[in-house]
Amino acid sequence: MSKIYFLPSHEYARIDEQNPDIAYVGITPYAASQLGNVVYVDMPEADDDVVAGEEFGAIESVKAASDLFSPVSGAVIEINEHLLDNPRLINQDPIENWIIKVQMSDSSELEKLLDAEAYDALCKSEKH
Protein backbone atom coordinates (compact mmCIF):
# COMPACT_ATOMS: atom_id res chain seq x y z
CA MET A 1 0.00 0.00 0.00
CA SER A 2 1.48 3.33 -1.06
CA LYS A 3 1.69 6.23 1.33
CA ILE A 4 -1.07 8.81 1.15
CA TYR A 5 -1.35 12.29 2.64
CA PHE A 6 -4.21 14.79 2.76
CA LEU A 7 -5.02 18.49 2.74
CA PRO A 8 -7.94 19.69 4.88
CA SER A 9 -9.47 20.94 1.60
CA HIS A 10 -9.90 17.26 0.60
CA GLU A 11 -7.10 16.71 -1.90
CA TYR A 12 -4.69 13.83 -1.48
CA ALA A 13 -1.09 13.19 -2.50
CA ARG A 14 -0.46 9.48 -3.09
CA ILE A 15 3.25 8.62 -3.29
CA ASP A 16 4.40 6.49 -6.19
CA GLU A 17 5.49 3.03 -5.02
CA GLN A 18 8.63 3.03 -7.16
CA ASN A 19 9.66 6.65 -6.98
CA PRO A 20 9.24 8.50 -3.65
CA ASP A 21 9.62 11.89 -5.38
CA ILE A 22 6.52 11.40 -7.48
CA ALA A 23 3.01 12.06 -6.13
CA TYR A 24 -0.40 11.45 -7.66
CA VAL A 25 -2.79 14.26 -6.69
CA GLY A 26 -6.56 13.93 -6.68
CA ILE A 27 -9.65 14.45 -4.55
CA THR A 28 -10.75 12.19 -1.70
CA PRO A 29 -13.75 9.84 -1.76
CA TYR A 30 -15.40 12.10 0.82
CA ALA A 31 -15.01 15.13 -1.47
CA ALA A 32 -16.26 13.14 -4.46
CA SER A 33 -19.39 12.08 -2.59
CA GLN A 34 -20.05 15.65 -1.48
CA LEU A 35 -19.76 16.96 -5.04
CA GLY A 36 -21.98 14.37 -6.68
CA ASN A 37 -21.70 13.64 -10.39
CA VAL A 38 -18.50 15.24 -11.64
CA VAL A 39 -18.97 16.80 -15.07
CA TYR A 40 -15.71 18.60 -15.65
CA VAL A 41 -12.17 18.80 -14.33
CA ASP A 42 -10.13 21.89 -15.15
CA MET A 43 -6.52 20.70 -15.17
CA PRO A 44 -3.16 22.40 -15.69
CA GLU A 45 -0.92 21.35 -18.56
CA ALA A 46 2.06 19.02 -18.33
CA ASP A 47 5.20 20.98 -17.40
CA ASP A 48 3.22 23.58 -15.44
CA ASP A 49 4.43 24.15 -11.90
CA VAL A 50 2.21 23.65 -8.87
CA VAL A 51 2.79 25.09 -5.41
CA ALA A 52 1.78 23.46 -2.13
CA GLY A 53 -1.39 25.05 -0.77
CA GLU A 54 -2.13 26.88 -4.02
CA GLU A 55 -4.83 26.39 -6.60
CA PHE A 56 -4.01 24.22 -9.61
CA GLY A 57 -7.42 23.69 -11.18
CA ALA A 58 -11.09 23.25 -10.47
CA ILE A 59 -13.66 20.50 -10.40
CA GLU A 60 -17.31 20.86 -11.30
CA SER A 61 -20.41 18.83 -10.69
CA VAL A 62 -23.90 19.80 -11.86
CA LYS A 63 -24.63 21.90 -8.79
CA ALA A 64 -21.23 22.76 -7.36
CA ALA A 65 -17.75 23.87 -8.29
CA SER A 66 -14.67 23.71 -6.19
CA ASP A 67 -11.11 24.88 -6.63
CA LEU A 68 -8.38 22.26 -6.44
CA PHE A 69 -5.40 22.90 -4.18
CA SER A 70 -2.12 21.12 -4.52
CA PRO A 71 -0.81 19.31 -1.45
CA VAL A 72 2.74 19.42 -2.83
CA SER A 73 5.05 21.65 -4.88
CA GLY A 74 6.71 20.61 -8.08
CA ALA A 75 6.28 20.14 -11.81
CA VAL A 76 3.27 18.45 -13.40
CA ILE A 77 4.66 15.50 -15.36
CA GLU A 78 1.35 14.12 -16.52
CA ILE A 79 -2.34 14.91 -16.36
CA ASN A 80 -4.97 12.18 -16.28
CA GLU A 81 -6.32 12.52 -19.80
CA HIS A 82 -9.04 9.90 -19.19
CA LEU A 83 -10.81 12.54 -17.12
CA LEU A 84 -11.19 14.80 -20.14
CA ASP A 85 -13.57 12.33 -21.78
CA ASN A 86 -14.98 10.75 -18.69
CA PRO A 87 -14.84 12.96 -15.60
CA ARG A 88 -17.23 10.58 -13.82
CA LEU A 89 -14.30 8.19 -13.28
CA ILE A 90 -13.68 10.35 -10.21
CA ASN A 91 -17.00 9.25 -8.75
CA GLN A 92 -16.15 5.61 -9.43
CA ASP A 93 -12.75 5.60 -7.71
CA PRO A 94 -11.19 8.95 -6.84
CA ILE A 95 -7.98 7.41 -5.48
CA GLU A 96 -7.32 5.26 -8.55
CA ASN A 97 -8.36 8.14 -10.84
CA TRP A 98 -5.85 10.77 -9.84
CA ILE A 99 -5.91 14.19 -11.53
CA ILE A 100 -2.25 15.18 -11.89
CA LYS A 101 1.10 13.44 -11.43
CA VAL A 102 3.70 15.71 -9.81
CA GLN A 103 7.50 15.52 -9.65
CA MET A 104 7.91 16.87 -6.13
CA SER A 105 10.53 19.53 -5.57
CA ASP A 106 10.49 19.22 -1.77
CA SER A 107 9.19 15.98 -0.28
CA SER A 108 9.60 17.38 3.23
CA GLU A 109 6.37 19.27 2.54
CA LEU A 110 4.56 15.98 3.08
CA GLU A 111 5.18 16.28 6.80
CA LYS A 112 2.85 19.26 6.95
CA LEU A 113 -0.05 17.24 5.52
CA LEU A 114 -2.63 15.15 7.38
CA ASP A 115 -2.23 11.38 7.65
CA ALA A 116 -5.17 9.06 7.01
CA GLU A 117 -6.22 8.95 10.64
CA ALA A 118 -6.22 12.74 11.09
CA TYR A 119 -8.06 13.18 7.80
CA ASP A 120 -10.77 10.67 8.78
CA ALA A 121 -11.31 12.55 12.00
CA LEU A 122 -11.68 15.78 10.04
CA CYS A 123 -14.32 14.28 7.73
CA LYS A 124 -16.28 12.95 10.70
CA SER A 125 -16.29 16.38 12.31
CA GLU A 126 -17.46 18.01 9.05
CA LYS A 127 -20.42 15.67 8.84
CA HIS A 128 -21.80 17.07 12.07
Binding site: N37, V39, Y40
Partner: protein, 490 residues
Protein backbone atom coordinates in the same frame (compact mmCIF):
# COMPACT_ATOMS: atom_id res chain seq x y z
CA UNK B 1 -50.45 25.68 -19.71
CA UNK B 2 -50.65 22.53 -21.80
CA UNK B 3 -49.60 19.05 -20.73
CA UNK B 4 -47.99 18.18 -24.04
CA UNK B 5 -44.56 19.53 -24.79
CA UNK B 6 -44.32 21.70 -27.87
CA UNK B 7 -40.73 20.84 -28.72
CA UNK B 8 -39.94 22.29 -32.15
CA UNK B 9 -37.14 24.78 -32.69
CA UNK B 10 -37.60 27.63 -35.15
CA UNK B 11 -34.77 26.10 -37.20
CA UNK B 12 -36.86 22.99 -37.74
CA UNK B 13 -39.65 25.05 -39.32
CA UNK B 14 -37.31 26.72 -41.79
CA UNK B 15 -38.03 26.20 -45.50
CA UNK B 16 -36.02 27.60 -48.41
CA UNK B 17 -37.86 30.39 -50.17
CA UNK B 18 -39.91 31.47 -47.14
CA UNK B 19 -39.62 35.02 -45.87
CA UNK B 20 -41.13 36.99 -43.02
CA UNK B 21 -40.22 40.56 -43.93
CA UNK B 22 -41.03 43.35 -46.35
CA UNK B 23 -38.53 46.19 -46.65
CA UNK B 24 -39.54 49.69 -47.75
CA UNK B 25 -37.41 49.89 -50.90
CA UNK B 26 -36.11 46.51 -51.92
CA UNK B 27 -34.56 47.79 -55.14
CA UNK B 28 -32.37 50.10 -53.11
CA UNK B 29 -31.48 47.16 -50.86
CA UNK B 30 -30.38 45.06 -53.81
CA UNK B 31 -28.45 47.93 -55.34
CA UNK B 32 -26.63 48.26 -51.98
CA UNK B 33 -25.82 44.58 -51.99
CA UNK B 34 -24.08 45.27 -55.27
CA UNK B 35 -22.09 48.04 -53.57
CA UNK B 36 -21.14 45.68 -50.76
CA UNK B 37 -19.84 43.13 -53.29
CA UNK B 38 -17.35 45.72 -54.53
CA UNK B 39 -15.72 45.92 -51.09
CA UNK B 40 -12.39 44.11 -50.68
CA UNK B 41 -13.11 40.39 -50.59
CA UNK B 42 -11.30 39.73 -47.31
CA UNK B 43 -13.77 42.04 -45.50
CA UNK B 44 -16.78 39.97 -46.51
CA UNK B 45 -18.42 36.91 -45.10
CA UNK B 46 -17.49 33.67 -46.81
CA UNK B 47 -20.75 31.76 -46.40
CA UNK B 48 -24.19 32.83 -45.34
CA UNK B 49 -25.17 32.48 -41.66
CA UNK B 50 -27.51 29.60 -40.89
CA UNK B 51 -30.60 31.56 -39.89
CA UNK B 52 -34.14 30.20 -40.18
CA UNK B 53 -36.31 31.13 -43.15
CA UNK B 54 -39.93 31.32 -42.05
CA UNK B 55 -43.13 33.04 -43.07
CA UNK B 56 -45.07 35.15 -40.60
CA UNK B 57 -47.94 32.75 -39.68
CA UNK B 58 -45.45 29.93 -39.04
CA UNK B 59 -43.47 32.11 -36.68
CA UNK B 60 -46.61 33.23 -34.86
CA UNK B 61 -47.78 29.63 -34.30
CA UNK B 62 -44.33 28.58 -33.18
CA UNK B 63 -43.97 31.15 -30.42
CA UNK B 64 -47.60 31.00 -29.39
CA UNK B 65 -47.26 27.25 -28.90
CA UNK B 66 -43.92 27.49 -27.16
CA UNK B 67 -45.33 30.14 -24.81
CA UNK B 68 -47.78 27.53 -23.54
CA UNK B 69 -44.83 25.54 -22.18
CA UNK B 70 -44.13 28.46 -19.85
CA UNK B 71 -45.38 29.52 -16.46
CA UNK B 72 -45.60 33.23 -15.57
CA UNK B 73 -47.13 35.32 -12.81
CA UNK B 74 -50.21 35.65 -15.01
CA UNK B 75 -50.43 31.84 -15.15
CA UNK B 76 -50.38 31.21 -11.44
CA UNK B 77 -48.92 31.72 -7.99
CA UNK B 78 -45.14 32.26 -8.05
CA UNK B 79 -43.90 32.18 -4.43
CA UNK B 80 -40.23 32.44 -5.37
CA UNK B 81 -38.45 33.76 -2.27
CA UNK B 82 -36.40 36.98 -2.62
CA UNK B 83 -37.71 37.46 -6.16
CA UNK B 84 -40.91 39.40 -5.33
CA UNK B 85 -42.97 37.99 -8.19
CA UNK B 86 -45.89 40.36 -7.91
CA UNK B 87 -48.52 41.12 -10.51
CA UNK B 88 -47.24 43.16 -13.48
CA UNK B 89 -49.93 45.76 -14.28
CA UNK B 90 -51.00 45.95 -17.91
CA UNK B 91 -51.30 49.73 -18.08
CA UNK B 92 -47.54 49.90 -17.54
CA UNK B 93 -46.93 47.77 -20.62
CA UNK B 94 -49.30 49.88 -22.69
CA UNK B 95 -47.65 53.15 -21.67
CA UNK B 96 -44.11 51.87 -22.13
CA UNK B 97 -44.78 50.40 -25.57
CA UNK B 98 -45.18 53.74 -27.30
CA UNK B 99 -43.19 56.06 -25.09
CA UNK B 100 -39.82 57.31 -26.39
CA UNK B 101 -39.57 54.27 -28.62
CA UNK B 102 -38.22 56.25 -31.59
CA UNK B 103 -35.81 58.46 -29.64
CA UNK B 104 -32.11 57.96 -30.31
CA UNK B 105 -30.04 58.09 -27.09
CA UNK B 106 -27.67 60.68 -28.51
CA UNK B 107 -30.36 63.18 -29.56
CA UNK B 108 -29.91 66.79 -28.36
CA UNK B 109 -31.30 67.21 -24.84
CA UNK B 110 -33.87 69.81 -25.92
CA UNK B 111 -35.58 67.18 -28.10
CA UNK B 112 -35.91 64.60 -25.30
CA UNK B 113 -37.20 66.64 -22.36
CA UNK B 114 -40.16 64.27 -21.89
CA UNK B 115 -37.93 61.20 -21.82
CA UNK B 116 -35.54 62.87 -19.39
CA UNK B 117 -38.48 63.91 -17.22
CA UNK B 118 -39.47 60.26 -16.74
CA UNK B 119 -35.92 59.54 -15.57
CA UNK B 120 -35.93 62.58 -13.32
CA UNK B 121 -39.33 61.88 -11.78
CA UNK B 122 -38.53 58.22 -11.12
CA UNK B 123 -35.17 59.20 -9.62
CA UNK B 124 -37.00 61.61 -7.31
CA UNK B 125 -39.70 59.06 -6.43
CA UNK B 126 -37.14 56.40 -5.51
CA UNK B 127 -35.26 58.97 -3.42
CA UNK B 128 -38.30 59.73 -1.29
CA UNK B 129 -39.15 56.04 -0.99
CA UNK B 130 -35.58 55.06 -0.08
CA UNK B 131 -34.85 58.10 2.08
CA UNK B 132 -31.86 58.94 -0.13
CA UNK B 133 -30.61 62.14 -1.76
CA UNK B 134 -30.35 60.98 -5.36
CA UNK B 135 -30.59 57.88 -7.53
CA UNK B 136 -28.92 56.83 -10.75
CA UNK B 137 -31.14 54.59 -12.84
CA UNK B 138 -28.32 53.47 -15.14
CA UNK B 139 -27.49 49.99 -13.74
CA UNK B 140 -29.29 47.32 -15.78
CA UNK B 141 -30.07 44.86 -13.00
CA UNK B 142 -29.76 44.36 -9.26
CA UNK B 143 -26.34 42.73 -9.53
CA UNK B 144 -25.00 45.62 -11.57
CA UNK B 145 -26.58 47.98 -9.05
CA UNK B 146 -24.59 46.27 -6.29
CA UNK B 147 -21.40 46.56 -8.32
CA UNK B 148 -22.12 50.24 -9.03
CA UNK B 149 -22.87 50.91 -5.37
CA UNK B 150 -19.55 49.37 -4.38
CA UNK B 151 -17.78 51.46 -7.02
CA UNK B 152 -19.40 54.55 -5.46
CA UNK B 153 -18.15 53.42 -2.06
CA UNK B 154 -14.61 52.88 -3.33
CA UNK B 155 -14.63 56.28 -5.06
CA UNK B 156 -15.76 57.91 -1.84
CA UNK B 157 -12.93 56.37 0.19
CA UNK B 158 -10.41 57.17 -2.55
CA UNK B 159 -11.57 60.80 -2.65
CA UNK B 160 -10.55 60.99 0.99
CA UNK B 161 -7.22 59.36 0.17
CA UNK B 162 -8.31 56.51 2.41
CA UNK B 163 -6.76 53.70 0.36
CA UNK B 164 -6.43 51.03 3.03
CA UNK B 165 -10.03 49.80 2.90
CA UNK B 166 -9.80 46.50 1.07
CA UNK B 167 -12.56 44.44 2.66
CA UNK B 168 -16.30 44.19 2.40
CA UNK B 169 -18.26 42.52 5.17
CA UNK B 170 -21.19 40.34 4.10
CA UNK B 171 -23.51 38.37 6.40
CA UNK B 172 -23.45 34.60 5.80
CA UNK B 173 -27.17 34.74 4.96
CA UNK B 174 -26.58 37.17 2.06
CA UNK B 175 -27.72 36.67 -1.53
CA UNK B 176 -24.94 35.07 -3.62
CA UNK B 177 -24.62 38.24 -5.64
CA UNK B 178 -23.32 40.22 -2.63
CA UNK B 179 -19.98 38.41 -2.30
CA UNK B 180 -19.75 38.07 -6.10
CA UNK B 181 -20.29 41.82 -6.59
CA UNK B 182 -17.77 42.67 -3.88
CA UNK B 183 -15.19 40.44 -5.56
CA UNK B 184 -15.98 42.04 -8.96
CA UNK B 185 -15.36 45.47 -7.42
CA UNK B 186 -11.93 44.26 -6.35
CA UNK B 187 -12.66 43.71 -2.68
CA UNK B 188 -11.83 40.89 -0.32
CA UNK B 189 -15.01 39.40 1.17
CA UNK B 190 -15.32 38.67 4.88
CA UNK B 191 -18.38 36.81 6.16
CA UNK B 192 -20.22 37.90 9.27
CA UNK B 193 -22.00 35.18 11.23
CA UNK B 194 -25.70 35.03 11.97
CA UNK B 195 -27.38 34.51 15.32
CA UNK B 196 -29.71 31.54 15.79
CA UNK B 197 -32.61 33.88 14.92
CA UNK B 198 -31.03 34.61 11.52
CA UNK B 199 -30.04 38.20 12.25
CA UNK B 200 -26.50 39.54 12.15
CA UNK B 201 -24.32 38.63 15.14
CA UNK B 202 -23.40 42.13 16.29
CA UNK B 203 -20.48 40.94 18.43
CA UNK B 204 -18.99 39.04 15.50
CA UNK B 205 -19.54 42.09 13.30
CA UNK B 206 -17.80 44.38 15.78
CA UNK B 207 -14.83 42.03 16.00
CA UNK B 208 -14.38 42.31 12.23
CA UNK B 209 -14.83 46.08 11.93
CA UNK B 210 -11.69 48.13 11.58
CA UNK B 211 -10.10 50.67 9.27
CA UNK B 212 -9.59 48.01 6.56
CA UNK B 213 -13.35 47.70 6.04
CA UNK B 214 -14.88 49.69 3.18
CA UNK B 215 -18.50 48.73 3.81
CA UNK B 216 -20.98 46.27 5.26
CA UNK B 217 -23.54 44.98 2.74
CA UNK B 218 -26.89 44.10 4.25
CA UNK B 219 -30.33 43.00 3.21
CA UNK B 220 -33.07 44.16 5.56
CA UNK B 221 -35.30 42.28 6.09
CA UNK B 222 -32.67 39.60 5.59
CA UNK B 223 -32.99 36.46 3.49
CA UNK B 224 -34.80 34.56 6.24
CA UNK B 225 -37.40 37.34 6.29
CA UNK B 226 -36.38 38.77 9.67
CA UNK B 227 -36.02 42.46 10.27
CA UNK B 228 -32.51 43.31 11.48
CA UNK B 229 -33.70 45.01 14.64
CA UNK B 230 -30.18 45.96 15.72
CA UNK B 231 -29.78 48.14 12.67
CA UNK B 232 -29.30 51.39 14.67
CA UNK B 233 -26.42 49.79 16.59
CA UNK B 234 -24.99 48.23 13.46
CA UNK B 235 -25.08 51.54 11.57
CA UNK B 236 -23.36 53.30 14.41
CA UNK B 237 -20.63 50.67 14.67
CA UNK B 238 -19.99 50.64 10.94
CA UNK B 239 -19.81 54.42 10.71
CA UNK B 240 -17.60 54.61 13.80
CA UNK B 241 -14.75 52.91 11.91
CA UNK B 242 -15.28 55.12 8.86
CA UNK B 243 -16.94 52.41 6.77
CA UNK B 244 -20.20 52.80 4.84
CA UNK B 245 -23.41 50.80 5.03
CA UNK B 246 -24.82 49.28 1.82
CA UNK B 247 -28.46 48.26 1.44
CA UNK B 248 -29.28 45.37 -0.90
CA UNK B 249 -32.78 46.33 -2.04
CA UNK B 250 -33.83 42.86 -3.13
CA UNK B 251 -36.04 42.70 -0.03
CA UNK B 252 -37.35 46.27 -0.02
CA UNK B 253 -40.98 45.32 -0.70
CA UNK B 254 -42.11 44.76 2.93
CA UNK B 255 -40.74 48.14 3.96
CA UNK B 256 -42.91 50.18 1.58
CA UNK B 257 -44.96 52.36 3.88
CA UNK B 258 -43.07 51.19 6.97
CA UNK B 259 -39.43 52.24 6.96
CA UNK B 260 -36.77 53.73 4.70
CA UNK B 261 -33.16 52.53 4.31
CA UNK B 262 -31.90 56.13 4.48
CA UNK B 263 -33.51 56.58 7.90
CA UNK B 264 -31.85 53.38 9.12
CA UNK B 265 -28.40 54.79 8.41
CA UNK B 266 -27.72 53.20 5.02
CA UNK B 267 -25.42 55.31 2.85
CA UNK B 268 -25.83 53.56 -0.49
CA UNK B 269 -28.60 51.26 -1.75
CA UNK B 270 -29.94 49.62 -4.85
CA UNK B 271 -33.50 48.77 -5.80
CA UNK B 272 -34.68 46.04 -8.16
CA UNK B 273 -37.43 47.71 -10.19
CA UNK B 274 -38.45 44.24 -11.45
CA UNK B 275 -39.16 43.19 -7.88
CA UNK B 276 -40.53 46.01 -5.72
CA UNK B 277 -41.85 48.19 -8.54
CA UNK B 278 -43.78 45.59 -10.49
CA UNK B 279 -41.90 45.67 -13.79
CA UNK B 280 -41.94 42.23 -15.41
CA UNK B 281 -38.98 39.94 -15.08
CA UNK B 282 -39.18 38.91 -18.74
CA UNK B 283 -37.90 35.37 -18.16
CA UNK B 284 -34.57 36.76 -16.96
CA UNK B 285 -34.62 40.44 -17.89
CA UNK B 286 -34.49 43.27 -18.71
CA UNK B 287 -34.50 44.47 -15.13
CA UNK B 288 -33.16 47.67 -13.65
CA UNK B 289 -31.04 48.21 -10.54
CA UNK B 290 -31.12 51.92 -9.65
CA UNK B 291 -28.58 53.00 -7.02
CA UNK B 292 -29.32 55.66 -4.42
CA UNK B 293 -26.91 57.56 -2.21
CA UNK B 294 -27.23 59.77 0.83
CA UNK B 295 -26.38 63.47 0.59
CA UNK B 296 -22.68 64.03 0.05
CA UNK B 297 -22.14 61.02 -2.22
CA UNK B 298 -23.99 62.25 -5.35
CA UNK B 299 -20.84 63.25 -7.19
CA UNK B 300 -19.68 59.62 -7.23
CA UNK B 301 -22.76 58.34 -9.09
CA UNK B 302 -21.82 56.89 -12.49
CA UNK B 303 -21.82 58.82 -15.77
CA UNK B 304 -24.00 59.93 -17.41
CA UNK B 305 -26.22 61.69 -14.87
CA UNK B 306 -29.51 63.49 -15.53
CA UNK B 307 -29.49 66.91 -13.87
CA UNK B 308 -31.83 69.87 -13.73
CA UNK B 309 -30.74 73.37 -14.73
CA UNK B 310 -31.99 76.35 -12.68
CA UNK B 311 -34.60 77.09 -15.38
CA UNK B 312 -36.07 73.61 -14.95
CA UNK B 313 -34.72 72.06 -18.15
CA UNK B 314 -33.07 68.68 -17.85
CA UNK B 315 -29.69 67.76 -19.26
CA UNK B 316 -27.32 64.83 -19.37
CA UNK B 317 -24.06 65.45 -17.56
CA UNK B 318 -20.71 63.73 -17.20
CA UNK B 319 -18.20 64.49 -14.48
CA UNK B 320 -14.74 63.34 -13.47
CA UNK B 321 -15.66 62.59 -9.87
CA UNK B 322 -18.04 59.82 -11.04
CA UNK B 323 -17.19 56.24 -10.14
CA UNK B 324 -17.05 55.51 -13.85
CA UNK B 325 -19.53 54.35 -16.45
CA UNK B 326 -21.60 51.16 -16.21
CA UNK B 327 -23.88 51.52 -19.24
CA UNK B 328 -23.57 52.89 -22.75
CA UNK B 329 -26.39 55.33 -22.05
CA UNK B 330 -28.99 55.63 -19.27
CA UNK B 331 -29.78 51.94 -18.85
CA UNK B 332 -32.94 49.95 -19.53
CA UNK B 333 -35.05 52.99 -20.25
CA UNK B 334 -38.53 51.52 -20.89
CA UNK B 335 -38.36 49.74 -17.54
CA UNK B 336 -38.33 53.22 -15.94
CA UNK B 337 -41.57 54.14 -17.70
CA UNK B 338 -43.24 51.04 -16.24
CA UNK B 339 -41.92 51.65 -12.72
CA UNK B 340 -42.98 55.29 -12.75
CA UNK B 341 -46.45 54.32 -13.99
CA UNK B 342 -46.71 51.79 -11.14
CA UNK B 343 -45.66 54.32 -8.49
CA UNK B 344 -48.09 56.93 -9.81
CA UNK B 345 -50.91 54.38 -10.06
CA UNK B 346 -50.62 53.64 -6.35
CA UNK B 347 -49.63 57.16 -5.36
CA UNK B 348 -48.26 58.29 -2.02
CA UNK B 349 -51.04 56.57 -0.06
CA UNK B 350 -51.46 53.38 -2.09
CA UNK B 351 -47.77 52.52 -1.80
CA UNK B 352 -48.13 52.39 1.98
CA UNK B 353 -50.26 49.24 1.72
CA UNK B 354 -47.69 47.29 -0.26
CA UNK B 355 -45.35 46.37 2.59
CA UNK B 356 -47.98 45.52 5.22
CA UNK B 357 -50.05 43.36 2.84
CA UNK B 358 -46.98 41.50 1.60
CA UNK B 359 -46.04 40.82 5.22
CA UNK B 360 -49.55 39.75 6.15
CA UNK B 361 -49.64 37.28 3.25
CA UNK B 362 -46.31 35.75 4.24
CA UNK B 363 -47.24 35.37 7.89
CA UNK B 364 -50.58 33.84 6.92
CA UNK B 365 -48.87 31.07 4.94
CA UNK B 366 -46.26 30.56 7.65
CA UNK B 367 -48.88 30.14 10.39
CA UNK B 368 -50.93 27.83 8.20
CA UNK B 369 -48.10 25.40 7.54
CA UNK B 370 -45.70 25.53 10.48
CA UNK B 371 -47.29 22.46 12.08
CA UNK B 372 -46.16 20.32 9.12
CA UNK B 373 -43.04 22.12 7.96
CA UNK B 374 -39.95 22.84 10.04
CA UNK B 375 -39.82 26.53 10.90
CA UNK B 376 -36.26 27.12 12.12
CA UNK B 377 -36.84 30.78 12.94
CA UNK B 378 -40.15 31.54 14.64
CA UNK B 379 -41.64 34.97 15.18
CA UNK B 380 -43.31 37.30 12.75
CA UNK B 381 -41.58 37.26 9.40
CA UNK B 382 -41.70 40.09 6.90
CA UNK B 383 -42.31 39.49 3.17
CA UNK B 384 -40.85 35.98 3.18
CA UNK B 385 -39.82 33.13 5.46
CA UNK B 386 -37.86 29.92 5.28
CA UNK B 387 -38.90 26.35 6.13
CA UNK B 388 -36.16 23.80 6.68
CA UNK B 389 -38.01 21.04 4.82
CA UNK B 390 -40.74 18.87 6.32
CA UNK B 391 -41.08 18.61 10.06
CA UNK B 392 -41.20 14.83 9.78
CA UNK B 393 -37.64 14.03 8.71
CA UNK B 394 -38.32 10.28 8.48
CA UNK B 395 -40.11 10.37 5.12
CA UNK B 396 -36.99 10.94 3.01
CA UNK B 397 -38.92 13.55 1.04
CA UNK B 398 -36.60 16.48 0.35
CA UNK B 399 -37.13 20.13 -0.42
CA UNK B 400 -36.42 19.39 -4.08
CA UNK B 401 -39.21 16.77 -4.06
CA UNK B 402 -41.63 19.26 -2.50
CA UNK B 403 -40.72 21.91 -5.07
CA UNK B 404 -41.31 19.50 -7.94
CA UNK B 405 -44.57 18.21 -6.42
CA UNK B 406 -45.85 21.80 -6.32
CA UNK B 407 -45.38 22.04 -10.08
CA UNK B 408 -47.91 19.23 -10.47
CA UNK B 409 -50.37 21.25 -8.40
CA UNK B 410 -50.12 24.24 -10.77
CA UNK B 411 -47.85 26.38 -8.60
CA UNK B 412 -44.37 27.65 -9.29
CA UNK B 413 -41.82 26.31 -6.79
CA UNK B 414 -40.46 28.48 -3.96
CA UNK B 415 -36.74 29.29 -3.88
CA UNK B 416 -34.97 26.14 -2.74
CA UNK B 417 -31.69 25.40 -0.98
CA UNK B 418 -31.21 29.07 -0.22
CA UNK B 419 -30.30 30.62 2.18
CA UNK B 420 -27.39 28.33 2.91
CA UNK B 421 -28.03 28.54 6.66
CA UNK B 422 -30.27 25.44 6.53
CA UNK B 423 -29.92 22.12 4.73
CA UNK B 424 -33.43 21.98 3.28
CA UNK B 425 -34.26 25.66 2.79
CA UNK B 426 -37.63 26.33 1.20
CA UNK B 427 -38.04 30.08 0.89
CA UNK B 428 -41.56 31.40 0.34
CA UNK B 429 -42.53 34.93 -0.70
CA UNK B 430 -46.17 35.47 -1.67
CA UNK B 431 -46.18 39.29 -2.36
CA UNK B 432 -49.16 41.58 -1.70
CA UNK B 433 -50.97 40.93 -4.98
CA UNK B 434 -52.08 37.38 -4.07
CA UNK B 435 -55.59 36.88 -2.78
CA UNK B 436 -56.49 34.90 0.31
CA UNK B 437 -58.12 32.33 -1.95
CA UNK B 438 -54.85 31.74 -3.85
CA UNK B 439 -52.95 31.49 -0.58
CA UNK B 440 -55.50 28.97 0.72
CA UNK B 441 -55.12 26.86 -2.42
CA UNK B 442 -51.35 26.90 -2.01
CA UNK B 443 -51.64 26.02 1.68
CA UNK B 444 -53.86 23.02 0.89
CA UNK B 445 -51.43 21.85 -1.77
CA UNK B 446 -48.53 22.10 0.68
CA UNK B 447 -50.51 20.25 3.36
CA UNK B 448 -51.48 17.58 0.88
CA UNK B 449 -47.84 17.10 -0.15
CA UNK B 450 -46.82 16.82 3.51
CA UNK B 451 -49.55 14.23 4.03
CA UNK B 452 -48.56 12.20 1.00
CA UNK B 453 -44.90 12.44 2.02
CA UNK B 454 -45.87 10.38 5.06
CA UNK B 455 -48.28 7.98 3.34
CA UNK B 456 -46.76 7.51 -0.11
CA UNK B 457 -43.26 9.01 -0.08
CA UNK B 458 -42.17 7.21 -3.24
CA UNK B 459 -44.87 8.86 -5.26
CA UNK B 460 -43.90 12.33 -4.01
CA UNK B 461 -40.25 11.64 -4.73
CA UNK B 462 -40.94 10.95 -8.41
CA UNK B 463 -42.99 14.07 -9.07
CA UNK B 464 -43.70 15.98 -11.22
CA UNK B 465 -45.90 13.56 -13.18
CA UNK B 466 -48.10 15.98 -15.10
CA UNK B 467 -45.80 18.70 -16.42
CA UNK B 468 -44.93 18.68 -20.14
CA UNK B 469 -41.33 17.86 -19.22
CA UNK B 470 -40.25 15.50 -16.44
CA UNK B 471 -36.86 15.02 -14.80
CA UNK B 472 -34.45 16.50 -17.33
CA UNK B 473 -30.99 14.95 -17.22
CA UNK B 474 -28.85 17.82 -15.89
CA UNK B 475 -25.73 15.69 -15.70
CA UNK B 476 -25.90 14.80 -19.38
CA UNK B 477 -26.40 18.49 -20.24
CA UNK B 478 -23.23 19.48 -18.37
CA UNK B 479 -21.13 16.46 -19.41
CA UNK B 480 -21.74 16.87 -23.13
CA UNK B 481 -22.79 20.48 -23.61
CA UNK B 482 -24.98 20.95 -26.69
CA UNK B 483 -25.57 24.67 -26.79
CA UNK B 484 -26.61 25.51 -30.36
CA UNK B 485 -28.61 24.18 -33.28
CA UNK B 486 -25.35 23.16 -34.98
CA UNK B 487 -24.40 21.12 -31.90
CA UNK B 488 -27.75 19.32 -32.13
CA UNK B 489 -27.24 18.43 -35.77
CA UNK B 490 -23.87 16.80 -35.06
Amino acid sequence: MNTQLYDKLIFELSRPGCRGYALPDENRADEGLGDIKTLPEQLLRESEPELPRVDEPTLVRHYTNSSTNNFGVDTGFYPLGSCTMKYNPKINEELAAGFASELHPLQPADTVQGALEVYWRLQKALSTIGGMAEFTLNPHAGAQGELTGLMVIKSYHNSREDYGRTRILVPDSAHGTNPASAACAGYEVVEVHSMPDGTVDVEDLKSKLDSSVAALMMTNPNTVGMFERNIPVIAEAVHAVGALLYYDGANLNPLLGVARPGDMGFDVMHINLHKTFATPHGGGGPGAGPVGVRAGLEQFLPNPRVLQAPDGTLYVNEQDSACGRVSAWLGNYTVFVKALAYIYTLGACGLRYVGPLATLNANYIMHSLCDLYELPIPGPCKHEFVFDGLKDKSTGVTTLNIAKALLDCGFHAPTIYFPLLFHESLMIEPTETESRRTLDDFISAMRDIAGRAASEPDSVRTEPHHTPVRHPDDTEAALHPRLTWSDLKC
